[in-house]
Point group: C2
Chain length 244, copies 2
């Protein structure tokens, strides 16, 4: 049987979701917990390969086991008792064997947070980017709307990204200010590698006047990574939700 988990994590101390040789990752910690519970080595397939330092509130990951004797409603609590405090499962549900947490995802929502104030807030440093310089939030809001729709997002993915198609559909791209916090929300049918962080970096460039809001559509059209902004640092990014 296949079990789908919803999980949250503080990505600060991890080398991202996916297992690697030289860093502890969330996938590794989750697989270790599952192995402790079920005995056998278990592979957990994640829906999104979040980068090092990126957080999640609604990541999904599934795994197969022969038999589960733990009531599904109690499974999150049992798994959490084997996980460190910076990772937590909030839901477990059985899904058909043919279900694929990555390819069956219909919609993903990410949030990028900026602590937009003159002085840093140590209590916000883990979940936001500190930006003490002036931003034109109105221009950023205008630029954000350009990302909505179906586009080839080649200008917004890291060079060397190997994918069949770089066309993605963005349903929503929004800038909200609740001073001193600025939030970018991006919702789409999927995202290329680093795409949300490059969109965030581009919106920051617009706020700083380095890119004009009205040029955003042309940067998308250009498919030229060099025209977009810098990849924004990971700590501001949180994977909020995945819908199937």
């Amino acid at each position: 049987m296949q079990i789908l988990l919803t999980l949250a994590y503080d990505g600060t101390n991890y080398g991202g979701w996916q297992r690697q040789k030289n860093a502890v990752t969330v996938q590794q910690r989750l697989e270790e917990a599952l192995e402790s519970i079920f005995g056998d080595p278990i592979r957990a397939a994640g829906a999104s390969r979040t980068d090092a330092g990126v957080h999640a509130l609604g990541q999904r990951a599934s795994f197969f086991i022969e038999e589960n004797r733990i009531p599904m409603g109690k499974l999150p609590i049992v798994i959490n008792s084997y996980l460190p405090s910076d990772i937590a499962v909030s839901c477990a549900q059985q899904v058909p064997d043919a279900f694929n947490p990555r390819f069956d995802a219909k919609e993903k929502t990410y949030e990028y947070r900026i602590w937009y104030a003159k002085f840093p807030n140590p209590l916000q440093r883990i979940t936001s980017l500190f930006h003490p310089y002036e931003l034109d939030v109105g221009e950023m809001k205008k630029a954000a709307s350009a990302f909505v729709g179906e586009h080839d997002f080649s200008a917004f993915c890291s060079a060397g990204t190997l994918v069949k198609s770089r066309v993605r559909k963005v349903f929503e791209c929004r800038v909200d200010e609740a001073a001193p916090i600025l939030t970018f929300t991006v919702r789409g049918d999927g995202f290329l590698y680093n795409m949300v962080r490059i969109i965030a970096g581009t919106l920051l460039y617009v706020g700083q006047g380095k890119i004009k809001a009205e040029d955003a559509p042309y940067i998308i059209e250009s498919r030229n990574r060099a025209l977009a902004g810098k990849t924004a640092p990971p700590q501001g990014l949180t994977l909020l939700e995945i819908k199937y």
Copy 2:
């Protein structure tokens, strides 16, 4: 001259505000930073001796120096460049030599946060207490109002607290729910050792039905520490503001 600082910190990795032998403290880190800048050993006098693990957004601390050649507006940035990322100064101002940051405080505001949900949120774990069990928030709100006014708070301070008077005036004591976060706000002319955490623990007992809301006034009157709730864990507590 005396300089008064406003500072924020994530208390997670500190043994509280005050210098001690066996733990790194916020006072120590601040004094080390000031010494690096001004050359001489400097003692920073804090307004509140926050406990180990307690956070601050508006702590105040002052220090004396012979001469300050750094423009006052730039001083926070200079000090922050010598501080770790979990401590940050947001304001520096000159005050008269007779000013005492602790005894001249007229009003302090503390906030206690609870992540009141079935499953933990790793992104909230540093600044809130995780409480997955049912609470009667209505009763907690009723009980909170009992703390307002001038009372002898002996029932709400740790045994062995050496102070002349245990009478304090609470201006406001409020429970707010913005699901899934529950916030207790307490504002008063001063607080005894552990007082806010014992009030928080008592409100939690009321929410759990272990103490009746209508008994709160009698527990205050009793001056008996044994009748109040447990001291709530430190990570939920933040010193928000001090007024002079």
